[in-house]
Symmetry: D2
Subunit: 311 residues, 4 copies
C-alpha cells in the first residue's frame, strides 16, 4: 500500500527526482510516476518501442528532444503526421518558429504572414523555404525510383538533412523508421501533387507502408507504446501493435477526454477490450500538456537508465 | 445588442425552436444558435459545403443522419477517417453495434469479443463479416483498373452497397465525394495490404486524391466547413479550402481544447491567422459532444430551410 | 441489449422525442437519455429532489427555467452560490444581461462598465441597482430579528420580489428552501458586511443552516440529486444527502473532468465509495454544457410526466 | 521576439532549470514559464500574495509543500475550502491517505471503508479520529469566546496542532490568515452543528470574516494572486482583491475550461473586464494538473529567489 507523502522542496532538486516524488503526491503526479516506471520496464525488458506524436509537438521545442531520444535509441519506430515532418525540415534549414500568444489578434497575424498554432507562430517564409527544398528533393527521389513507400521516402529525406536536432535526420541515421499514414495532409501533400502533375508515374505507395509497419514487430517481440496526443499517429501504432499480438506496455499522454468516444481521448483501459494492450499489460494514461509531462517523464527515465548504465 | 432571455418550457416544444431559444440563454447554447445561423447562410449563399467527422461518429447513430443530410444535399464534400468507413459497410451488411457502458470491465469485454469505443461496442463478428465483404469487393475493383484514388474507390464501394442509411451509399448516389487521407489506418488498410500481396500492381494513389479534393472547389466558390471532431479529417478539409482561398463560413464542433496547440482543439479564430477562414468570415466553435450538438443544430437548420422551401 | 440506432430527422420533431432517440445514438447522447430516465424515476418514486447549480447558470437564461420547474414542484431543495442569487435579484428588478463574445476585448469591456462571464455581460449599473435594493431589504430583515440562517433570509427576500421568473420568488412561494453555504462570497457578502458595521448584533448563522439542510430529509426518504456544475453547491447537497443515508438517484452534469480529483469533476461512480449514492443507485454523469444539456433533459422529463398526468 | 528552442536533456538537470527551458518549448510549457516570472515579480515588488487552493490539493501531498511555502513567507493570505482543512487536521494527527486508482471498484471501496478522491483514498477511521479531535477543540474555543470569525477559529486550531507539515500550524505560526467562506460544507460543519445544538449561543460569524479578508490589503498594496483550481476559494480571493483595487499579478492554474462560463474555468483575461486584475497587470493562466504544474513552477521560483538571496 502506497501512502501519500507530503512534498517538500530541497535546494537543487533534480527534475528526475521530482518525478519520483510526484508519484506519491496524488492525481496526475501519481500517473506520471507510473508512466515513468512503465517506460523503464519497456527498456529493461527489451521491448520494441513505438513513439507517436502529433504535428504540433514538432512545432514545439520537443522536436530536439525527440531527435535526442532517437539518437539514444529509446524508440524503435516513430509514427507522426505530416505537418510535423514539414516543420522538422524547415527547422533543419535554419527557420525559426516564434513563441507568441494564445490570445493574439489573428487577423493581424494573418496580415503579417504569421500562422498561429496555439501560442506558437510559423511565418509564410518558412513555408516558402520548405517549397524550395521539396522540388529538388522529390526530383532526387524520383531519379532513384518511381514508387515509394512513405517511410522509405522519409528515410531518404532524412539522409539529405544535416541537423543533429532533426527527427528525420536522427531517425535515418539510427535506422528508426518514421511512419506517416496521411502523408498528403499538408504542404508536403501539395508538393507531391505538383510533382505528380509533371511525373504521372510517380507514386506514393501507402499500402506497401502498411506492410512495412506491420513487419517492424513480430508476435514474439515484447512491445511498448508511448502515444503523445491522439489522432491518426496514435491509432496507427496501436493498429500495428494489435496485428502482432498487442502491447505489453503503453503510456498515453493526452489532453483529450474519453467521454466522447474519440481515438484521441481513448484510454489505455479501453484498449484492453480490443486486445490493443494485453489483459495483464502495464498501462498508464496521463492527462495533461505533453510539453510539460513528456520531458518530465522522459528525463526521469533517462536519469534512471543512465544510473543503471543502461543508456 | 442581444439580451439574455429566460428560457421557459412550452408543451410540445420542437427541437428546432429550442435551438433558437438557446441562442439567447448563454454559453454554448449561444454558440449553438450562431452555428445554426452560419450553416443556414452557407446554404442560402450557395456555398460548397465540406462536412468532416471522425470514425467514432459513424460508430454512433449519427451515421444514418449523415446519410440523410447527404441525400438532402447539405454537404457537397465529405472527409472522414477509415474506421468510420469500415463501420458504415458493416452496418450496411446488417451488423448491429451495442450501446454499453464507459465503465465496463474491458478484460471481460475482450473475452466476449466486444471492442469498446467509449460507451459503444463492436463485436469481432462484425469485423469478420467486413473481411468477407472486402475480398470480393477489392477483386471487383481490381478488374476495373489497377490504380485507384481513394475517393474513387469509396464511390465504387458505395455503389455496391444497398442501404438508405449508409453514408457511402448515399454519397455515391448523390455524387458527393468522400475523402479519406489515411485510408490504410484501419482494418481496411489490412485488407488492402493482403490484396496487394497477391496483386503487387494494385495501387492506392493518395497523391491523385489530393488533386481531387483540391479540384472540388475553385477560388470563385464560396466555401463552408462543418468540422465535427478534429484530427486528419478536419485538417484535410481545411487544407483543401485554404488552397482555393479559404472558407467564408466555418462551424467547428469539438470537445478538444485549444490550449495544447492541437489541430483537434484549434478554434475557428486561430484559423484566421492561416487564411484558412477569411478575415471577415462567419465562424463559430461549439464545445461539446457532437452526438448531442450536431443533431440539435442540424435539425434547426433543416426545419428553417424546409420552412423557406429551400430543402 | 440495447442497439445503436441510426438517427433520422422527421419534420417537426419535438425536443422531448429527440432526447429519447439520442439515447440510442451513442456517447453523451446515451448518457443524456439515461439521465432523463433517472429524473423520471425520482419523481415517480416520490424522491426528495435536490437541485444544485452554480452562479453562471443564473447569469444565463436557465434562471427562468429553474423558476418554472420550482413552480412545477420538481425540486424540493435548491443549493446554489451567492453570485446567482444576486443576479436573480437584479433580473427581478428589470435588469438585462447581454449576450456577448468569449473573445471580446476585456480591457475595452472594463472601460464600458461591462463585466464578462464567458460570453455574457453584466453591467456595473446592475450591481448599483442591486446595492440600492439590498440596503432597505436588510433593514427590513433586521427589524424582524437579529440572527438569520441563510435559507430563512433568502426565503424572506424571495417574498419581497415580484417576478414569476425569479428563482427566489418561486422558491419562497412554493416552500422550496434555497441553501447557499458561502453566502458572503459576492456583492451580497459586501452588503452584509456594510450592514453589520452599523448593526454589530446582526448575525448570519451558517451553522444553523447546516441543521436546516440536514433536516430537509430523513433516512426514510428516497433522495434524488440533480447537480449542475460543481463546486460548493454540488458538494453541499451531496453532504446533506450523505448524512441521511445517501442518494438513490443522482444526475451530474458537468464540463469538469475527474482526472484532477476535484469535486467539480467527481463522478457519480466515485460517489459510491463515500456512500454519497447507494451501491445500487441509479446514477448518471453527463459531460457537456448545462445550457444545452439541462433544458434538453428536463424538457424530456416534463413531457413524459405531463403525458402520464404526473405534472 | 522569443524563439522556440529545441529542448535537450543534460544529465542532472535541475527542476528549476527545466521550467526555464520549457518557457521556450511551447504551449503550456510557455505559460508555466510566464507564471514563474509573474510570481517572482510578486515577491520582488513586495506584493501581498493570496494563495487559493481546493480541498483535493490538501488530500494530495501538496499539503506539505503549502506548509513549507507558508513558512518561507511566500503567501500572505490563504483561501481554501473546508474539506482540505479537515484533512490537514487528520494528517497532523498521524493519519495516512492512500495512493489508489481512478478506476477502482467503488462499491468494494465503500465496503472497505475507503472514500475515493480521484486516485487517493481516505479511510473512515481518519474521519473518526477527526471527530474525536473536534469535540474538545470546539469546547476549548467556546471557553474563550462565543462568537468566532472563521479565520480566527482556524488560527486558534492551528495553534493546537503540532506538525511542521500542517498548513494550519504553519499559518498560525507565521500569522498567515486562512479564509474559508463555506466553513460548514464538510464534516467540520457537521461538528459545528452538533456543538451548536448543545451550545446555542455558539456562533460562527462569516460576515465578520468578510471584513477580515477585505482588511488584509489596502488600495495602496500591490497584490498578487496564485489561484490553484477554481470554485469558492478562487472567487473569494478575487473578490477581496477587487474590493481593494484589483490585482497587479495573477496566476491561475486549472483544468477547467472557460467555455462554460464557470468561475473555475474563468481566465485571467476575463478577470480584466471586472477590474479583478488591472488592465496592465501581469497575468497567466496555466492549464493542467496542479499536482505537477504547481511544484514545477514554485520550485523554479524558490530556486531563483534563493539564488538572489531573497528567500
Amino acid at each position: 500500500m502506497k501512502i501519500v507523502k507530503d512534498f517538500k522542496w530541497k535546494k537543487g532538486l533534480r527534475a528526475g527526482e521530482l518525478v519520483k516524488e510526484l508519484g506519491s503526491v496524488g492525481f496526475q503526479g501519481v500517473e506520471l510516476g507510473k508512466a515513468t516506471n512503465a517506460v523503464i520496464k519497456m527498456k529493461k525488458h527489451g521491448a520494441k518501442i513505438y513513439l507517436t506524436f502529433t504535428s504540433n509537438m514538432m512545432t514545439s521545442g520537443l522536436r530536439g528532444f525527440f531527435a535526442q531520444i532517437i539518437k539514444l535509441q529509446i524508440p524503435h519506430i516513430v509514427v507522426t503526421t505530416v505537418g510535423g515532418i514539414e516543420e522538422d525540415i524547415m527547422k533543419s534549414m535554419g527557420e525559426d518558429f516564434i513563441v507568441g500568444d494564445f490570445n493574439a489578434d489573428d487577423v493581424e497575424l494573418h496580415e503579417k504572414g504569421c500562422n498561429r498554432i496555439g501560442n506558437l507562430y510559423i511565418t509564410n517564409e518558412s513555408y516558402c523555404k520548405f517549397e524550395d527544398k521539396m522540388a529538388p528533393l522529390l526530383s532526387k527521389l524520383y531519379e532513384k525510383k518511381k514508387i515509394w513507400a512513405v517511410s522509405e521516402m522519409l528515410a531518404e529525406i532524412g539522409k539529405n538533412l544535416d541537423d543533429e536536432n532533426s527527427v528525420l535526420y536522427q531517425a535515418a541515421k539510427n535506422n528508426v523508421p518514421i511512419f506517416c499514414p496521411a502523408i498528403t495532409d499538408g504542404a508536403f501533400g501539395f508538393h507531391l501533387y505538383m510533382f505528380q502533375q509533371k511525373h504521372p508515374d510517380f507514386i506514393v505507395d501507402v499500402v506497401k507502408d502498411f506492410k512495412n509497419i506491420v513487419n517492424t514487430s513480430s508476435f514474439d517481440d515484447k512491445k511498448g507504446l508511448i502515444a503523445l496526443g491522439g489522432g491518426v499517429s496514435k491509432h496507427h501504432a496501436i493498429l500495428a501493435g494489435l496485428l502482432t499480438g498487442g502491447f505489453e506496455y503503453a503510456v498515453y499522454m493526452t489532453t483529450s477526454r474519453h467521454t466522447s468516444g474519440s481515438m484521441s481521448g481513448a484510454t489505455t483501459k479501453e484498449a484492453k477490450s480490443w486486445g490493443k494492450v494485453k489483459d495483464d499489460s502495464d498501462i498508464v494514461t496521463v492527462i495533461g500538456d505533453v510539453t510539460i509531462n513528456f520531458p518530465l517523464m522522459m528525463i526521469s527515465v533517462l536519469e534512471q537508465l543512465d544510473k543503471e548504465e543502461l543508456l
